[in-house]
């Protein structure tokens, strides 16, 4: 069914139709949340929260952007909120996120362990980034979205997105080097 049609139906009170919208976008939203390095359970919870928030606010969706863009904006806000939450800061559970990445089987066990460590420290550092940097990096580098898309989503010029990604990488490199150094000691 036509997405616009569906949204209008939900806005008009046919709330059960919302399920189809969830079906259409659930993988996209989950992927963007999970790629920030969150455990499956957490990512799923946040995705759920995103859809509930979107449902509550669906009357304010005015077809001025794509529905998926709107959802992604909400998902990012929800995830940013989680990263800033006490719950997250207490757990600092980002390293568990590495279970998401299966290392390829061609590699030796040693190499796999090294890879896992790298991912772990990448995710740990990612969680420490400021929201705007993390958002840009996750969307472009980890999820292959275009610069234009991220620029639209964050209402900033493309150049800013580019410099955010670059800045994010620099901070990540710095942070990862520090963390491996600490690990060596």
């Amino acid at each position: 069914m036509d997405e616009e049609q569906l949204i209008k139906q939900v806005q008009n009170g046919e709330t059960e139709e919302y399920r189809h919208l969830v079906n259409l976008h659930q993988n996209l939203i989950y992927r963007i949340i999970a790629k920030q390095g969150l455990r499956h359970e957490v990512a799923e919870d946040l995705a759920q929260e995103t859809f509930i928030k979107a449902f509550r606010g669906i009357h304010s969706f005015r077809f001025e952007s794509k529905f998926s863009t709107w959802l992604i904006r909400i998902a990012l806000n929800v995830t940013n909120g989680y990263f800033n939450s006490k719950e997250f800061k207490n757990q600092r559970s980002a390293e568990k996120g590495l279970s998401l990445i299966e290392t390829t089987q061609l590699k030796s066990p040693e190499e796999q362990v090294i890879d896992q460590e790298k991912f772990g420290s990448l995710y740990n550092c990612l969680a420490k980034l400021k929201n705007k940097f993390r958002e840009a990096l996750v969307l472009v580098a980890l999820d292959g979205q275009s610069y234009e898309f991220v620029a639209e989503l964050s209402s900033v010029p493309i150049g800013t997105v580019r410099s955010r990604i670059n800045r994010a990488r620099l901070l990540l490199v710095e942070c990862m080097e520090n963390s491996t150094m600490q690990g060596d000691k």
Binding site: T15, R56, H59, A141, R169
Partner: protein, 743 residues
């Protein structure tokens, strides 16, 4: 590492450089050991990123089922609350702090005894038109519910009449109004003091446990059922689920109270936790034929929050929700020149001229300017009540609060005092009646504010008022300044009780200003309502610039109230005026008889403040008047139109203003004839017109004329006047934004 070099790394890796440039950069990297190390790390990171990028993350298939279930359970929870409220309202019982279980049982019992309260429309809205299509997890249940309802002889097929709802609302409201003074002291049949333990918010997950007997109670289907009365309460047809929960819901902890009869039902904000931004819906003032009602009465309003909130939306590249637009707050955002002549606390001014954009209509601008009372040097005691809950943790919230309060503190004088109360999980006093001579201590306290925890707003307000009473300055200004994002999600008190507390304290001359910060959970209805009850004002602050405007200019006007309960009544002369419409002030209308009733609360005007209102007027004898009258069979056709046109000194209308002294109980009356004049409209007049057109365009007003954003832009641009601070110029940008968003 320098940004420029690494920006080049990015270009290199993403293949944006020409072959020559790449070669040069690579050579440069190779030459410097430091650069090559950096480049290696950078590249490694990009490799890692690519690996993640290629991995697909997918959810299991029953995710949407989970989402829908949690939406349903939340919906159900809210519905139950409203159901309880409905019953208690009709029985004039106040429950508070009683365990949710007990409330549910009472409600269920009443519900089961009164099954006729089923609203078919709401029922269908929840279940969906074709329940078979959703059969996989919802329908069996719903089908059986449907059967159940049928067994109970419920008439599911009689459509609920929706058209007379508006009139019903009015009817109900006026009866409430009529009964309210009588009811204020109605003995309460059952009161239990709220206990903190029940201040927890009702989690959706708790519901199944509190529903004592699921099968027997027939409770599962309840979310699809709404009371007919509820339709009126919401001002909405049927039950809109989720974020648009009808206004007037009860406080989040399941405590129930009668709706505040003082307030219009539609003014009450919803208390659904964690919702998106909320705006009370309203209907616009209609065009009124003078033959039918020559008298128009309203309360002044000096709030400006709607304009700043709109500015935030437009700057983010979004159109603001239509219900968030209040034309009077647009108009009053700007300062206008009114001649200062103060025998009374304020001067009255008016201007009458043809509408610059709608040829057949005229506009009547009324202006009030209060005298500058700051000269009188009354001492102040300000209690800063600051929300430091987790939701305030953002630079545009707590950060701005700190900056704003620092500005304000620096503006105060040695005789003034400051108290600071913060609230989050619990309320706490940081400063109690500290004199401005200890400015450093105050500034330090402000600087040290940090956020965390949930929002236990009511306790904060109580504590703030206690402090205000304790350090009361008998000859001074005593005011609580509440800085929050309005997200009162935990508290032992309902909105009703808060409002009562604030109204009560107003009588002992402690007033309240609410200042909204930030975006996200912003609950505007609540903010405005609280301020109105506390004889105060409401501002919305979205930037440091706005903080400067409010704290360095506007707030000073509103802290020192020059006159309170200011009501305007204008009687149009049917000889000359055929129709009129008040632009904005949609929720500020008063009844004719309220004008002379000193018990009726109205707006305040602060030191050197201006309040402006605009009427749209149709003169008798014009083609438009004929057209508007054509629906009346017996309407007298206009008399000699030429008389009205020639007689420029004719009295168009008669303006009456009532107000009370800041601490007085009895009102004074000012009267003022309004005559036509041949004067050219001033730039202020035209700018007010532009502002009101802009607001109406954004509102998508049903009375929109034949003008567009570019027309309004041109009009505003020509009438910027002096505009020293650039506020008017700023509106030009907003009009452009709105215009391009429309396309």
């Amino acid at each position: 590492m320098n940004n420029q070099t690494t920006n080049k790394f990015l270009d290199l890796i993403e293949g944006r450089l020409s072959a020559l440039e790449s070669k040069e950069l690579l050579a440069k990297i190779k030459a410097s050991p430091e650069l090559s190390k950096q480049f290696k790390s950078y590249q490694e990171l990009v490799n890692l990123e690519n690996k993640i990028n290629q991995k697909n993350f997918e959810l299991n298939t029953n995710f949407s089922v989970k989402v829908m279930e949690s939406i349903r359970s939340e919906y159900q929870q809210t519905f139950i609350r409203r159901l309880i409220m409905q019953f208690t309202k009709s029985q004039k019982i106040i429950f508070s702090g009683v365990a949710t279980t007990a409330l549910l049982l009472v409600t269920l019992k009443i519900y089961q005894e009164n099954p006729e309260v089923v609203n078919k429309q709401a029922y269908q809205a929840t279940i969906g038109k074709d329940s078979r299509e959703n059969s996989d997890f919802l329908s069996p249940q719903n089908e059986s519910e449907r059967e159940d309802l049928k067994l109970k002889n419920l008439d599911l097929d009689t459509p609920i009449v929706t058209a007379p709802i508006a009139s019903k609302v009015r009817e109900q409201e006026s009866s409430l109004q009529a009964s309210r003074s009588k009811n204020e002291n109605t003995p309460i049949e059952l009161i239990q003091k709220p206990k903190k333990d029940f201040g927890q918010k009702l989690e959706a997950k708790q519901l199944p446990e509190t529903r004592i007997n699921d099968k027997d109670s027939n409770f599962k289907g309840l979310e699809g059922v709404a009371l007919k009365k509820e339709v009126f309460a919401s001002g909405d047809t049927g039950v809109a689920p989720g974020g648009r929960m009808p206004v007037g819901s009860i406080a989040t902890n399941g405590i129930v109270a009668e709706i505040d009869q003082r307030s219009r039902l539609s003014d009450l904000p919803t208390s659904v936790p964690e919702s998106n931004e909320r705006y009370a819906t309203y209907t616009e003032n209609p065009i009124i034929a003078v033959q039918q009602e020559a008298i128009s009465t309203f309360s002044i309003d000096v709030d400006t929050g709607s304009y700043t909130n709109t500015r935030r939306f437009l700057r983010m590249g979004q159109m603001p929700p239509t219900d968030s637009i209040r034309a009077e707050e647009f108009i009053n955002y700007f300062k206008y020149n009114y001649p200062a002549q103060y025998e009374k606390p304020f001067s009255l001014n008016y201007e009458f001229a043809p509408s610059p954009l709608e040829k057949e209509k005229f506009l009547l601008k009324l202006g009030i300017k209060a005298k500058d009372a700051r000269i009188e040097e009354k001492p102040w005691h300000l209690v800063f009540l600051i929300d430091v809950s987790g939701s305030m943790q953002a630079d545009d919230k707590l950060g701005l609060v700190k900056q704003s309060l620092t500005l304000l503190t620096n503006k105060m004088r040695a005789t003034d005092k400051v108290s600071i109360v913060t609230y989050a999980g619990s309320a706490g006093t940081l400063l109690a009646g500290t004199s401005i001579s200890d400015k450093d201590q105050i500034l330090k306290a402000i600087e040290g504010l940090t956020s965390g925890g949930s929002t236990y707003g009511s306790a904060g307000i109580q504590e703030a008022y206690q402090l205000a009473s304790k350090h009361f300055m008998p000859n001074g200004v005593n005011r609580v300044i509440l800085a929050t994002d309005g997200d009162f999600n935990v508290g032992t008190t309902s909105t009703e009780e808060l409002v009562n507390l604030i109204s009560e304290k107003r009588k002992s001359n402690i007033t309240l200003t609410t200042i909204g910060f930030g975006t996200g959970n912003y609950n505007e209805g609540m903010m405005e309502q609280l301020a109105n009850k506390g004889n105060g004002n409401y501002f919305y602050i979205d930037s440091f610039g706005e903080a400067r405007k409010v704290f360095e200019q506007d707030l000073f006007g509103t802290i020192e109230v020059v006159a309170k309960d200011v009501k305007l009544q204008i009687e149009f002369n049917p000889e000359h005026v055929s129709h009129y419409r008040l632009i904005g002030y949609d929720n500020r209308l008063l009844k004719k008889e309220d004008f002379n009733n000193d018990q009726i609360d109205a707006g305040e005007i602060g030191s050197s403040h201006t309040v402006t209102a605009m009427y749209e007027v149709v003169l008798t004898g014009t083609a438009l008047a004929e057209k508007l009258n054509s629906e009346y069979r017996y309407q007298p056709k206009s008399k000699e139109a030429s008389i009205a046109k020639k007689d420029l000194s004719a009295e168009l209308a008669f303006l009456k203003v009532r107000f009370k002294a800041p601490t007085g109980d009895k009102s004074e009356l000012l009267t003022f004839p309004i005559v036509k004049s041949a004067k050219e409209p001033s730039t202020d007049f035209n700018f007010v017109a532009a502002t009101s057109y802009f607001a109406q365009l954004l509102r998508q007003s049903q009375f929109l004329g034949d003008y567009t954003y570019p027309d309004v832009l041109a009009l505003a641009e020509k009438n910027l006047g002096q505009d020293k601070e650039g506020y008017r110029r700023e509106m030009l940008e907003l009009i452009k934004n709105a215009d391009s968003l429309k396309k």
